[in-house]
Point group: C2
Chain length 213, copies 2
């Protein structure tokens, strides 16, 4: 398998963590999201990913899978180690809800293409763009912090890492890059520290990737 | 079970379709997203949904499930009729990817809270807000139209409705409300017409809900 990603992409970062948790190996191919106007817009990549987004997982038979959560569902089925979702149906829905609250309601509002639209099409100042970014992080993290009070143990849901942690850690990494103060979110901070002590999370860190700058 | 939703919410609309496809009955409770400054912000609702968003599915034991895709995964497990995802692992990931491209990369950019931020916090003109809305619809639909050329039959993925159709139909309903021209998307238009001929989709239409205005 070959993972097309980018060191700083939160969605690719999720898939790297999932690969490590599942004990699966995968070739990595960097798609530089800024160089050359964004390599994700080049014809050969768009043939794999019509959305012009990373990540894409290309299987050995050439089939291209897109959307990090769909890719991780596929990976979860490939190996029994570290299931990304609990077996109990309600717990499973609760973990998915936490992951989706990040993957749907935080990350897509703050990713590169949206920030580019704010700068270029809306001509927002850096200050206004930063306020937008912080607003959606705080809105999302406040809800997650509440959910963690109900569900968290050492990790987001009990004492084993799940899909919720896999989504949370890259989002926090991103928030810290944009200097979002995290003091209102003690559970999020604690859980991220627990995750980042594990090799599966550590090896997936953006700065530990071959295309890191 | 009790579904907290709103007739015009795309995410609640998805869950209504899924309930119908699965042959499950459910009490409905309207959460008016505009009246009283938005009933989704009232304390009794926030106790069920920390994100201040609809839908929420409350189970018979009082457990509240949030996030439409997590709710639908739960519902899919409750009954064997009309599975929302194919059994084959690759096909399953492809259907999920199509659904997620809507649920992550179109809908959250154009939902009520974002449009309110554009108006109130960024003081955008109606024209600029409309351009934003149309931009993300066209970006998303162009990619879906391409994927449909590869996968579609009568529905998004072959000849049975799946999670992809369940997400597509409400998004198209929403796009038409905002007068997005659909002539570039013949497959999307064709598939939505096929879906909307089915009672499961028809009964879930916003205008057929008790709280429709």
């Amino acid at each position: 398998m070959k993972l097309y990603g980018y060191w700083r992409s939160s969605a690719a970062y999720r898939v790297r963590i999932a690969l490590n948790l599942k004990g699966l190996s995968c070739e990595q191919q960097s798609v530089h999201l800024v160089k050359d106007g964004g390599q994700q817009h080049q014809d050969d990549y768009v043939a794999l990913n019509a959305q012009h987004l990373v990540p894409t997982l290309v299987l050995d038979d050439g089939t291209a899978l897109t959307q990090s959560l769909a890719i991780m569902d596929y990976l979860d089925g490939l190996s029994d180690s570290n299931p990304l979702l609990p077996k109990d149906a309600v717990a499973r829905a609760q973990v998915q809800a936490m992951a989706l609250s990040i993957a749907c309601d935080i990350h897509p509002l703050n990713n590169l293409r949206v920030l580019q639209y704010l700068s270029k099409d809306l001509a927002l100042s850096d200050e206004a763009k930063n306020a937008w970014y912080h607003h959606w992080i705080h809105t999302g993290f406040a809800a997650i912090e509440q959910q963690l009070q109900q569900h968290a143990g050492r990790f987001c849901f009990g004492d084993k890492p799940t899909l919720a942690d896999v989504c949370l850690v890259p989002q926090v990494y991103n928030a810290e890059r944009f200097k979002v103060p995290m003091d209102r979110y003690p559970n999020i901070v604690r859980i991220c520290a627990n995750c980042n002590a594990l090799p599966a999370f550590m090896d997936a860190l953006p700065e530990n990737q071959p295309d890191a700058q």
